[in-house]
């Protein structure tokens, strides 16, 4: 009797229609990306805390508001333009929905008035997949935001965030971070979790902006030596980084394509097979190695130790789907140490005032991560054409992304500088952005007045007021 029942159950199971399995898979995928979207909000809570803690107290509210308002501008612009850029530019030139190119179907889903881009009972995936990419866009814009704090205008940042978050990064993603991208199909370019596509390009864009924005008043002495502004709450900064790290796991997961009806169930963005466990292991070893490298390279500096974790992860992201855990650990140690030295070099030798080290941590590490794939994963077949990854292919990607990011940031900020809408007036910078932008006396609890200090290049803490006023009088901003 039992044998009969078992046989009947087996028959029913075998008779389950493939269509039902496919529907389950689609709904599973929809849920997966939905939860990554929720968790990726933590990245933005983290960026807000991270940057606000670094800022001086007189700029704390303006810094936090800038992060929050990223969502207000990048969301609609990415909806109206960004998804079209991604889906319709993968061959290198814009294509139309009626093109014979195999990406034409995806292009159709990127048009804001498409059936697939609204409530549609026949399409569970396009909107939720778009939303995961939207969260990537917020992240990309936020990478720039910390570097320019305490002197950039809110609206200057918002305009730059739209350009970076809804156009520049998503164009390079179309080229090198998609199944139909010309860099992937022709050169085997491999950047599976977006080392260069997100972080590298955002860092290059930021560097271009910083060249036009200039340093904060008083950042450098007359001799060009760097002073240090004291973060008003380093604990908040470290908490922010921990929130970013938590959200990064969702970021990593959302970079995969879920295909639960076919073994092994996951593919990277190029549709090459991988597993969720593989990338999760690499990101965790990347953090471990990054903290270690950052600690020793900075001799225990808390900011650079924790930033080292971020640097380590970014440096192994490009090959996170294929690296051995130990390789990720070792690469992250070495890369985080390089990030510390790069950050100091950018600040002290290039005299670029990057308030959070974004160019070093995201830009340098992003491009280094691309290069590591060419060195340590050469020969790995990438994408639907199974083109071998190689140093040559990775260098072509770098040679494409670096000017794309840097020049777009430099040109956009140059135009805004010429229009006088890039930087706050020096009087406002000295008084603090909060006073001019948000009248903080209305919103913040009373606190005791603390004299602002900064640290001279020789390590001496001094009263900031006289130094800043002198610097403001001497330097043409």
């Amino acid at each position: 009797m039992i044998d009969v029942l078992i046989a009947q159950v087996a028959n029913l199971r075998d008779a389950a229609p493939a269509q039902g399995l496919t529907q389950d898979s689609v709904v599973l995928g929809e849920q997966f990306y939905f939860f990554t979207v929720i968790l990726m909000w933590l990245i933005h809570a983290g960026f807000m805390s991270y940057e606000t803690g670094i800022a001086r107290k007189k700029n704390a509210l303006a810094t936090a508001m800038k992060n929050i308002l990223t969502i207000a501008v990048v969301t609609p612009s990415f909806y109206y333009f960004g998804w079209w850029i991604y889906n319709c530019n993968q061959p290198g030139l814009p294509i139309g929905p009626n093109s014979t190119d195999f990406t034409a179907a995806a292009c159709q889903g990127g048009i804001p008035w498409s059936d697939a881009f609204g409530p549609n009972l026949g399409n569970n995936i396009n909107l939720i997949f778009f939303l995961a990419f939207l969260l990537f866009s917020w992240t990309t814009a936020s990478i720039m935001s910390g570097a320019i704090i305490e002197r950039a205008r809110l609206t200057a940042y918002l305009v730059l965030a739209v350009i970076l978050g809804s156009a520049v990064w998503i164009l390079d993603a179309a080229w090198g971070w998609s199944a139909g991208g010309w860099l992937t199909l022709r050169f085997g370019f491999h950047d599976s979790i977006a080392s260069g596509v997100v972080h590298g390009v955002a860092g290059a864009f930021t560097l271009g902006v910083l060249f036009n924005l200039g340093p904060r008043i008083g950042k450098y002495t007359r001799e060009g030596l760097a002073r240090q502004f004291r973060p008003h709450n380093l604990h908040m900064t470290l908490l922010g980084l921990m929130l970013i790290f938590t959200g990064f796991y969702a970021f990593y997961g959302a970079c995969l394509v879920i295909s639960s009806t076919a073994f092994p169930g996951w593919a990277n963005i190029y549709l090459s097979p991988t597993t969720l466990g593989s990338i999760t292991m690499v990101i965790t070893m990347g953090f471990a190695g990054g903290f270690t490298g950052g600690y020793f390279a900075s001799r225990g500096d808390p900011f650079w130790t924790v930033s080292g974790g971020l640097a380590g992860v970014i440096s192994v992201s490009a090959g996170a789907d294929i690296y051995a855990p130990t390789l990720a650990y070792l690469l992250a140690i070495a890369s985080a140490a390089i990030a510390v030295y790069a950050g100091n070099w950018i600040e002290k030798s290039m005299r670029v005032d990057d308030a959070v080290g974004a160019v070093a941590v995201h830009g340098v590490m992003g491009f280094l991560g691309i290069l590591w794939v060419g060195v340590f994963a050469a020969g790995y077949p990438t994408g639907v054409n199974n083109v071998d990854s190689s140093i040559g292919g990775q260098l072509i990607g770098m040679a494409t992304f670096l000017p794309l990011g840097f020049l777009s940031g430099w040109v956009a900020s140059f135009i805004m500088k010429a229009l006088g809408i890039l930087r706050v007036p020096p009087e406002v910078e000295l008084m603090g952005l909060d006073v001019a932008e948000y009248e903080p006396n209305l919103y913040l609890p009373e606190v005791a007045v603390v004299t602002e200090q900064l640290v001279e290049p020789d390590g001496t803490p001094v009263d900031a007021a006289v130094v800043l006023q002198t610097a403001r009088d001497e330097v043409v901003v």
Binding site: P97, G118, P119, P425
Partner: protein, 114 residues
């Protein structure tokens, strides 16, 4: 729903006796009710199984472009508004005491009514 609280536009239809409980029942109901409203309605073109691209109905496209225009206008207005605010603040600070005479006022600073 009859009466004064019915805010549905005239294009809404209420098809009765259709295959309400068919496999794609929910979709059928939406199609049946909104099929004459394709365009500006929330569940207009996107609610159907129609050919991709059929959503580019004139009204729906106008609605989309309206959103794009609003987005751009907001961004420009935001730049102009902040510029005016910053210039006003800078003029106020310039006419006030010099920061060199003391520390810059801290957010929430006691005794500073600036």
């Amino acid at each position: 729903m009859p009466g004064i609280i019915n805010s549905a536009p005239d294009c809404i239809t209420h098809a009765e006796g259709g295959e309400k409980y068919a496999k794609d029942g929910a979709d059928f109901i939406l199609q049946a009710n909104y099929q004459d409203c394709a365009g500006i309605m929330t569940f207009g073109p996107g609610s159907t199984y129609g050919e991709d691209g059929s959503g580019a109905d004139t009204l729906y496209m106008i609605l989309t472009w309206l959103g794009i225009v609003v987005m751009l206008v907001v961004l420009v207005a935001w730049v102009l508004y902040e510029n005016r605010r910053l210039v006003t603040a800078a003029l106020g600070f310039g006419a006030d005491e010099s920061p060199a005479g003391g520390p810059p006022p801290q957010p929430g600073g006691v005794g500073d009514s600036r």
